[in-house]
């Protein structure tokens, strides 16, 4: 019963339906919010090629993992890190995950901002928005900040004004001017089409951002699910990811 | 002295009235519902602004549309008793009565309020909420509340109509006493002529926004100026055509059959009115007794006991009503369906000329 409720709650993240009529096979995909634009673009092509009807659900990767643990009926899980898929696999929730893309953590600011490096974030009064500790974007951010001298890290975190549950919340607040700066993926900056600009992080601070995906055990459509996951490394969706700015598998 | 003149359109009603009430006097406006009675009260109280109007109370001008004077309702010292009493449900009886007493301390307000309630026999109910009071008790609280501020003018909207018949008799007596005791001019409206007659020093009959006749209750009953007034004051009204007889009396051919004679003078289409208590009932027979010149053969349709009298609903070519004593009913062995003779004097038969096509209500 709780699983059914969790499945209903799976609509907590934004829901994007793929195309396809009722005769085609339904495939439920839970994907990290940062892949929203890319996967929404390639899903119709997958639908056409494989006579499927992909139902995409975007939210923070941790949120989606929790739903799967609660028994949500999902076929594919694609996260913004490898830690969450590995944990799910250890717990027998998904089949062996594969790495399918990389991304880059950047400091994002509005197009007209005076901030041009991570040092500017220590200035008091700067409104910084980051991800919450349990969502990949948040843990990458903290991983990065941990590499800084403790005083600098403390000053920066003191300016954090919101711990967002997914990366799109950070982007939204940046775009609306509610925040001065935020740590997001370069792919998110690309998606704003110029409203927000990315400041690259120094090489030594950059975390390794690797995306992992797997077929959920007890998936309703394991065969089709495997096809989708494969398509993330090679195929329409892989192309879409690259177009959005995701990097290839290391 | 209260004087109210108003010309206004209230919904579908065209109001055009002018009334004056002396101090200590009670003028009762009686009329059917929709006649505009409540509107007159509301104009006096300042709750309704007429297109043209003049309201003067004890020397103060409360409203003068020509002169641009309008005193708002809250500054007129009116005691208004509403038709459904409008008691504040969240306040106790004494708190309701004390509501208008602003400048006094709490102790004095309660004392004054309870005193007023005691005078109306409600002392022990002072702490009760309106919801737990009976209809008659609520009426008295409303009255006490209206009197609390010693108002310049007393306005009463159907003060007795919400009461059941049994409570009404006592309440009427009480209200009449209160009205007698108060010096403020009182304007009362009701749909019941008997109530108006019992409470008002003068009665005005109001119909369709106009006052059709004013006078003492007996004047109105005895010399109604129109069929409507006659009917409204409780008479039996029959329609017919009149012509003067050689002996000076008027002969009336009743519509539908039958004839009566009247001492009044009239010609043409008339309304014939006679009071139920002036009609005697005799067993149906050919023989003529006494001086009553009018005799109609009628059937008894209904018998209603009112106190120690019995009201008989009768049917001839037109409906009639007669009031006789219970003893008479027993003596005559009256029962529904019986054929009897209704008789009354020509001198008790009033005629009112009806306008062309006029109908009695």
């Amino acid at each position: 019963m709780l699983g059914a409720c969790a499945a209903i709650a799976a609509g907590c993240g934004s829901d994007d339906g793929g195309g396809g009529g009722s005769a085609s096979t339904r495939l439920v995909v839970s994907a990290a919010a940062s892949m929203k634009e890319a996967l929404t673009a390639c899903a119709p092509q997958f639908d056409k090629a494989d006579d499927a009807s992909v139902k995409l659900s975007f939210a923070g990767s941790d949120e989606l993992a929790a739903q799967i643990r609660q028994g949500a009926k999902v076929d594919v899980y694609a996260a913004a890190n490898t830690k969450l898929p590995d944990q799910l696999h250890t717990d027998g929730r998904i089949d062996t995950p594969v790495k399918f893309a990389t991304n880059e953590l950047v400091l994002a600011v509005r197009g007209d901002s005076r901030i041009d490096s991570i040092d500017d974030l220590t200035k008091s009064g700067t409104k910084l928005v980051i991800g919450s500790a349990s969502v990949p974007i948040g843990s990458y951010t903290r991983e990065t900040l941990a590499k800084l001298p403790p005083d600098q890290k403390k000053a920066i975190l003191a300016n954090a004004r919101s711990n967002e549950p997914d990366v799109k919340g950070i982007v939204g607040k940046l775009a609306q001017g509610a925040a001065d700066a935020g740590f997001v993926y370069v792919t998110d900056v690309n998606a704003t089409k110029g409203k927000v600009k990315a400041i690259k992080l120094p090489k030594q601070l950059e975390p390794q951002v690797t995306y992992g995906a797997g077929v959920v055990s007890k998936a309703a459509q394991p065969g089709l699910a495997k096809k989708f996951v494969d398509g993330l490394t090679q195929g329409d969706c892989a192309d879409a990811l690259h177009k959005a700015g995701f990097g290839p598998v290391p | 002295m209260l004087s109210v003149e108003a010309r206004a359109t209230v919904g579908a009603l065209r109001l055009d009235v002018a009334v004056a009430v002396d101090p200590g006097e009670c003028l009762a406006l009686a009329g059917p519902s929709g006649a505009g009675k409540t509107s007159v009260l509301r104009v006096a109280a300042g709750l309704l602004r007429p297109a043209q109007g003049l309201v003067e109370a004890n020397g103060e001008t409360w409203l003068d549309t020509e002169g641009g004077i309008e005193v708002p309702a809250e500054r007129r010292r009116c005691g208004y008793v509403f038709q459904d009493y409008a008691l504040f449900p969240h306040l106790t009886a004494w708190q309701n009565v004390a509501y208008p007493l602003r400048r006094l301390g709490r102790r004095e307000r309660r004392a004054r309020a309870v005193g007023l309630l005691e005078r109306l026999g409600l002392g022990e109910r002072a702490d009760a909420r309106p919801g737990s009071l009976s209809g008659g008790e609520r009426q008295r609280v409303a009255l006490a509340r209206a009197l609390a501020r010693r108002p310049e003018v007393l306005l009463l909207d159907e003060p007795l109509s919400a009461l059941d018949a049994r409570t009404r008799a006592g309440a009427t007596r009480e209200l009449a006493e209160v009205l007698r005791a108060t010096e403020a001019p009182a304007l009362l409206v009701t749909h019941d002529f008997t109530e108006a007659a019992q409470l008002g020093d003068r009665v005005g009959i109001i119909d369709a926004g106009r006052i059709v006749q004013q006078g003492t209750p007996s004047e109105l009953a005895a010399t109604p100026r129109s069929a409507f007034v006659a009917d409204f004051t409780g008479a039996v009204v029959l329609t017919g055509t009149a012509r003067t007889r050689a002996d000076g009396l008027t002969h009336v051919e009743l519509d539908g059959g039958g004839e009566v004679v009247s001492a009044d003078v009239a010609e043409g289409a008339v309304a014939v009115s006679v009071y139920p208590w002036e009609i005697a009932i005799e067993p149906a027979s050919e023989r003529h007794h006494g001086s009553a010149q009018n005799r109609l053969s009628v059937e008894v349709l209904s018998m209603t006991t009112i106190g120690n009298r019995v009201r008989l609903g009768l049917a001839g070519s037109q409906p009639l009503a007669a009031e006789v004593t219970q003893a008479a009913v027993d003596q005559l062995g009256l029962r529904t369906g019986a054929m009897v003779t209704a008789s009354w004097k020509a001198a008790a038969t009033r005629l009112v000329t009806t306008t062309t096509g006029g109908t009695t209500r």
């Binding site: 907590c12 928005v129 | 300042g46 208004y80 459904d84 409008a86 969240h90």
Partner: protein, 268 residues
């Protein structure tokens, strides 16, 4: 004339379905974890912060709604004017807005880049990403719940009571305070309960407009969402508190209503 048997069965079955659907999730919250775990996870810092923040922001928000909304509702209930239908629709609009849309709307209105953003900044007020912003979001989404009920409650008060108040020498303002409000109180209280329940549970608009930061903007619903993936027991515990609070509010209102029916007017 006897009602057909099948109709009564349909009614009963509908009620049973509705009841089950509404109560099982609530029961699930309480059954999911042991009371000891629930209480201990409530005691940790983040949960306490969330509870205290929710309490503060909801109280301030409701206070604003009552102070501003009550006279506004009275005006709408007692007067008619040109464009009234439009005004009422505008006031009810947040009712039908999805919370996320409400959040965006607030950003577009009083966010830094919003139409009034400049004026707000010039006045030295910061709204987005602040506790004040939480209050704004709560007030925005909950006020229609109160105003609508208050309008209906005022409109249902017998006009003659106000007339009586005026003839007894009280100004309209005094009549409003001493007659209208007390008589309309049960309706006002239930409107307040609805608004309170809505404010306590508000999530989307708050997240969008004010963000989620412990102690500053992370109200109980946001805290529940945050803990969902990492500490499910904590999420359950907070949910249980919210359910209990909401139930308490509803019961309190029923009590007020019941009191009004017992000691006050009897239908005549």
């Amino acid at each position: 004339m006897r009602r057909p048997r099948w109709f009564g069965v349909v009614l009963a079955v509908s009620l049973a379905i509705a009841l089950t659907f509404l109560t099982v999730p609530v029961v699930g919250i309480f059954v999911g974890s042991s009371p000891a775990d629930l209480i201990s996870s409530l005691g940790e810092r983040g949960s306490l912060d969330a509870l205290w923040l929710s309490l503060r922001t909801t109280t301030i928000s409701i206070a604003i709604i009552l102070i501003v909304g009550t006279p506004a509702a009275y005006l709408l209930a007692s007067r008619s004017f040109r464009g009234k239908a439009l005004v009422v629709t505008l006031i009810e609009l947040p009712l039908v807005l999805p919370p996320a849309v409400a959040g965006i709307a607030l950003l577009a209105a009083v966010g830094p880049a919003g139409i009034l953003g400049g004026a707000v900044e010039a006045a030295g007020i910061e709204l987005s990403l602040t506790t004040a912003g939480v209050v704004v979001a709560l007030t925005f989404v909950s006020s229609p719940f109160y105003v609508r009920q208050a309008m209906a409650a005022f409109a249902a008060v017998d006009r003659s009571l106000l007339d009586a108040s005026r003839t007894l020498g009280a100004s309209e303002a005094r009549g409003f305070l001493r007659v209208m409000i007390p008589v309309a109180l049960p309706g006002l209280a239930s409107g307040m309960a609805l608004a309170l329940g809505r404010a306590l549970g508000e999530f989307g608009a708050t997240l969008m407009f004010a963000g989620s930061f412990q102690g500053v903007t992370q109200t109980v619903p946001l805290a529940i969402y945050d803990r969902f993936s990492t500490d499910f027991d904590s999420a359950l515990a907070l949910s249980a508190v919210l359910v209990a609070l909401s139930a308490a509010i509803l019961l309190a209102v029923k009590f007020v209503h019941g009191g009004a029916a017992l000691g006050g007017w009897q239908a005549e």
